[in-house]
């Protein structure tokens, strides 16, 4: 049995409803679709029991066709196996719980979701925004598919010329 197959069996043993949601793409690449309601349980189980101790990055996706946001938690084990956990959030109420309690480095990655897609992340520590500038207009989320750079073109301030 390959390490990827063992991971699949261990995970679906604990969460039988995930059995058909686990895709072994190739050696060292596993993708799992996780229902948003059970995400934290699955996430914690992967970290604590399956050795997935490295958080690589979060990717936020604007899934325009299904009207959802996708969030991918790209994680890895020290042996090189990458586990990508995916959740979908409804666009009208995109709320996510922070994982900074477990991975302090997630802070910047979660702030990117907040700034660039407008996803609400609860439990983030106090701190400056990232990566957009402080004066960025409200409600402008650059990585949403319907957003165009012209939407955020700042009106020139009075008395100041940028020419």
């Amino acid at each position: 049995m390959t390490p990827e197959e063992k991971f699949r069996d261990d995970l679906s043993g604990r969460f039988p409803e995930l059995a058909d949601k686990i895709v072994l793409q190739r050696a060292r690449r596993i993708w799992v679709d996780v229902p948003a309601g059970r995400f934290r349980e699955v996430f914690d189980f992967c970290v604590e029991s399956l050795g997935v101790t490295i958080l690589l990055i979060l990717t936020g996706l604007d899934e325009a066709e299904s009207g959802t946001f996708g969030v991918l938690y790209h994680m890895a084990r020290p042996d090189g196996v990458v586990v990508n956990l995916r959740v979908h959030l409804p666009k009208d109420k995109p709320v996510l719980r922070s994982v900074t309690d477990r991975f302090p480095s997630a802070e910047a990655y979660e702030r990117e979701l907040v700034d660039l897609l407008g996803i609400v992340v609860t439990g983030l520590p106090e701190g400056p925004r990232y990566p957009l500038p402080d004066g960025w207009p409200e409600g402008q989320y650059p990585l949403r598919k319907d957003w165009k750079p012209a939407d955020a073109a700042p009106a020139p301030e009075e008395g100041k010329s940028h020419a």
Binding site: I54, L55, V82, N84, P142
Partner: protein, 412 residues
């Protein structure tokens, strides 16, 4: 002496040590840093959004420009994901050439870092020496790719230029010289008391904290975390090379110095293996313009640590989503931790020791003149003379002005 309590000072965003904007808010008690917070994002250029609006070929050049030093790292990490989605079988020779440029880039990056580290601790002789030697590897990169930075070697399905036997000889000669010099730097850094004392115990990240904060690259390996994507999650043909992961238990800036120096020696050995075992065959396979729907995650051990690229394709010639995590983003968040309990004066070297990525747009030494045949190379003297002639022919002539200035200088 009165107690002034805690004093907060902002450092940056135009930072004195880092040639890149980053803002630190430092809380001091006397000379000691008690807390530090980082405000990032000053260099956010919207590359990910930009990538969605461009074709895959255009994106190769866009992602290369994420960084001026590890441009090949970003380019290769991106292209690997695209090729995986497209199911392309990249020729082995192309993989070897990608590794060759990747290791030359690492040598370039580590030598550059060594100079910066020397500069930050007032050891400018080390800066002058290591940047002089860095020219050797820059010349090699220029000979291989045509460019000193932004090598643009990659294309979907392979590489754009081949390496012939004459070039291979040049590379081996250059590596021999660099290895001699690096041995000397290792001697300097392991015997020179001032270097050891200045760097030891500064910017400490314990082994446990390195695991908790998920630092990457030489920063992690200097805290005894033996992680290297080239070994852990092999890409290209790294599983065919013989090399070891260089680690150190110093957990401080000194350890990070030793790790990078050790990695230079490993890279020289790898470059020799790559040149010696370079397989014959084509350097590229034909790639489709439209990439079928799919997604892939690609990891690459850049000089500063793990580079992560995620690409989602939707069946068109443009990607649906490109996500990039450069190693500095993983390491920068640990800097606040490293700064705590250090002296304010240690701040530049602590920040520099994670080797934060600042764009290195270097001067050009080779010009291909369109009007005088291919590969007519100008040295600096000829380039300068060409500049003077160029303006003179357009009526801009400073000869008289220069003469009158010289006369005035002589009278004084």
């Amino acid at each position: 002496m009165p107690d002034f309590g805690n004093v907060q000072i902002p450092v940056g965003p135009q930072h004195p040590a880092l040639k890149e904007p980053e803002s630190f808010l430092i809380t001091l008690r006397g000379e000691k840093i008690t807390a530090a917070s980082v405000r990032m994002g000053y260099n956010h250029r919207g590359v990910e959004k930009g990538a969605e609006g461009r074709t895959y070929t255009q994106d190769i050049y866009l992602v290369e420009r994420i960084c001026g030093i590890c441009s090949h790292s970003h380019g290769t990490a991106f292209i690997q994901a695209v090729e995986e989605i497209a199911g392309l079988d990249v020729p082995r020779r192309a993989k070897y050439i990608r590794m060759l440029v990747g290791e030359l880039e690492r040598v370039h990056s580590h030598l550059l870092w060594l100079g910066v580290a020397g500069h930050e601790i007032g050891f400018d002789t080390l800066l002058m020496y290591s940047w002089r030697d860095r020219e050797v590897v820059m010349d090699l990169l220029a000979a291989v790719s045509g460019n000193r930075v932004h090598y643009s070697m990659n294309t979907v399905g392979g590489v754009r230029r081949d390496v012939d036997s004459a070039l291979a000889e040049t590379i081996l000669k250059g590596v021999d010289r660099l290895e001699e010099q690096t041995k000397y730097y290792i001697q300097v850094c392991s015997e020179e008391t001032t270097v050891i004392k200045r760097l030891s115990g500064v910017g400490v990240v314990t082994h446990e904290d390195a695991l908790r904060l998920l630092v990457v690259g030489p920063t992690a390996r200097a805290s005894g975390v033996a992680r290297d994507i080239r070994k852990d999650d092999p890409y290209l043909a790294y599983d065919e090379l013989d090399f070891k992961i260089v680690t150190s238990d110093h957990c401080d800036v000194y350890g990070r110095t030793l790790v990078r120096l050790g990695e230079l020696m490993e890279s020289y050995s790898m470059i020799r293996q790559i040149v010696k075992n370079m397989p014959d065959g084509p350097i590229t396979v034909k790639a489709p313009r439209k990439i079928p729907a799919g997604e892939a995650l690609s990891r690459y051990e850049a000089p500063r640590g793990e580079d992560v690229h995620y690409v989602k394709a939707n069946g068109t010639e443009k990607p649906e989503r490109v996500k990039v995590r450069a190693p500095t983003l993983a390491n920068l968040q640990a800097v606040s931790h490293m700064l705590r309990d250090n002296n304010l004066a240690d701040m530049p070297i602590v920040i520099a020791a994670i080797d934060p990525c600042f764009s290195c747009t270097d001067r050009a030494v080779e010009i291909d003149r369109a009007d005088s045949g291919p590969r007519d190379r100008m040295d600096w003297g000829r380039l300068r003379a060409h500049g003077i002639d160029f303006y003179r022919s357009r009526g801009v002539d400073f000869t008289e002005l220069n003469r009158s200035l010289t006369r005035r200088m002589k009278k004084l």
